[in-house]
Symmetry: C2
Subunit: 376 residues, 2 copies
């Protein structure tokens, strides 16, 4: 039943059993420990992120960032495999460690997420302005309730023959720059807090218990007695089925119809972000990841790269990022006493990111369509 989903041409698929799962988990655990060692060596737990530089990768060394990413990467894979192949593993052990891994990768992901969100929003403001809007480059005045007065500092040196036009032109440019400065302030603060939380987490006894568990896993995987010879394919197939069921429930016909204007519906509604309409897509993103990791378990290092699965996953990542960036812009617009020009720029930015959400859904639909056609 579920076996029909597997690629029958792959030589590894035939022999995928509990041993393959144990090998995969041992390899990921080893990778986790290697990344943890690297993270400690490269000073990943030293110093807060520089407050004036918020671009991704500016914090600490590139090695430290890579190490944190590798930690999250293996934690996600271990957690996913424990979930998908649950019946083959010691239940008490796996049910105890999964929430701990989720806590860890969630905590470690936040700092990077805030940095990436800020970069995405500043790039969008840049694109929308047709000019550099990074505060450091424009010398933006601080936000105040009096946008009109501030806009006069925009440095338009033409003679004041059309003063109204000058102020109008200045307003929007200053609006974009001030919106950028506001987002930079808010998201850098959030990122700094996330950095502290991550440091606290990595120094906690809770984390040391996780690391101890992973160290054990690197040498001995707690399989059930019957697991060694059990076929992994039904469980992997069930994971794929959960994915295809969730995809089937998505509004793909609408998503495949360009410019359907769905993503911005309720863009001004009183409901707070995040948009409820995004949730099923976020869920598919997680299920796609589980499916991808289950394929890794089955195929081992010889796993063929499925470019269509990759494209679908990238579309869903873009969907998630744009959705959260749009929410951050809307959130920033609720800051008290901002200038109208700042609020206007944040409104444009919010709508721009919601259209990115719509574009990502279209991209997902396109890649998913291709996949269905390609695998008869």
């Amino acid at each position: 039943m579920a076996q029909q989903h597997l690629d029958p041409t792959d030589p590894m698929a035939e022999s995928a059993c509990g041993d393959a799962l144990a090998g995969y988990l041992r390899a990921q655990a080893t990778e986790f420990l290697r990344a943890l060692r690297l993270h400690r060596e490269t000073g990943g737990d030293g110093g807060a992120p520089a407050r004036t530089k918020a671009r991704a990768g500016d914090n600490g060394s590139q090695e430290s960032v890579d190490a944190a990413r590798a930690l999250r990467r293996s934690a996600r894979r271990i957690s996913a495999s424990l979930h998908t192949f649950r019946p083959l593993l010691d239940t008490d052990w796996s049910e105890a460690i999964r929430p701990e891994l989720a806590w860890l990768s969630g905590t470690l992901a936040m700092e990077h997420a805030y940095a990436a969100r800020l970069e995405r929003l500043l790039l969008a403001l840049h694109r929308l302005s047709g000019a550099a809007v990074l505060p450091a480059q424009t010398g933006v005045p601080g936000d105040s309730a009096d946008g009109t007065a501030d806009s006069r500092t925009a440095g338009d040196t033409r003679p004041p023959a059309h003063p109204a036009a000058t102020v109008e032109r200045g307003n929007l440019t200053v609006g974009a720059a001030k919106a950028g400065a506001l987002l930079e302030r808010q998201l850098t603060l959030a990122r700094t807090r996330a950095h502290s939380s991550a440091l606290q987490a990595l120094g906690s006894s809770r984390f040391h218990a996780v690391a101890d568990n992973i160290a054990v896993l690197a040498s001995e995987v707690p399989l059930t007695p019957a697991a060694a010879t059990a076929d992994l394919r039904p469980l992997a197939g069930a994971a794929e089925e959960r994915l295809t069921d969730a995809v089937a429930a998505l509004p793909l016909v609408t998503a495949g119809n360009p410019y359907n204007a769905e993503a911005l519906i309720h863009g001004l509604s009183p409901d707070p972000a995040p948009h409820p309409q995004d949730a099923p897509w976020h869920q598919v993103r997680l299920l796609l990841r589980l499916h991808r990791y289950a394929r890794e378990v089955l195929h081992g290092d010889s796993a063929p790269v499925d470019v269509r699965l990759l494209a679908a996953g990238q579309a869903l990542n873009r969907h998630r990022d744009a959705s959260e960036a749009a929410a951050a812009a809307a959130q920033a617009a609720r800051t008290p006493r901002i200038a109208p020009a700042t609020a206007y720029a944040l409104g444009v930015l919010h709508a721009d990111q919601r259209h990115e959400v719509e574009a990502a859904r279209f991209a997902f639909q396109q890649s998913w369509q291709m996949q269905t056609v390609g695998t008869p």
Copy 2:
């Protein structure tokens, strides 16, 4: 050369000569005079538009609105035919009357344009809010610099356990409603002024001179001596060629790529609206109209409806309408002392309409593609 563009299966096409042009112009002139009479009879020149009702069609009787539309319709067709078939008509006469017709149809079009623009923007706000935002329904307070205070009147009756959240939720709803009220005020004022200008125009000696000219045209078309037997097809073909040349210069590859994010580029730039990138599309819209009217001259009443040409024209109308609505939202956001929540809503609205612009370009590309494939 140009003849290859014509439909060889149409029986009328073979016999299209100066007589057909004269017949077409006489018919349009008669239609103009009929619409003018109807417009006067139905009180088209009585009373200003009601200031509290700004929806299209609420002003005066439906008959009066229809009559004004019929007036513009025939004025456009006469003017277009004089342009396309210029060499076949008395030069002095046609060069004198064309600018007058352009002035007339331009003046008459403004009132309707403002009404339609307001309706488009209020519908968009409605869609974006997921709730009624028409000021009459929500009892919106007037715009003031203090948006936070106003937002408390939004009528949230929940207990004040989370006062911050209550204000935030209220802010955006009130923002959309206030943006709607602001646009209604500004565009109704513009519409009232356009109505007065149209009335003034219809009572002017300048208009009476145009009407006299059209009355002469209804009985006697000033063709050149050679025109009666001249083939209309080369001139009609030249009009089509101007269209296809202009279309070929459009960025159709980009437009056919959904979610290309082109239309919102420079959405926050200091350049004032209208967007320069829209101009070539507006130009194609005019050339498409000239081509369509030239086909009417050639085919007479038996002109087959070209649904693809129709779809392309509708896409370009939508492009024009969305472009102007986006500019109106940006313009409204420059109103001094508006609340940040109002400015935010106008920003979202502006971006929404710019995406409508992009969607219209995509729709044009799709219909134009079909046309090329359909006419081998």
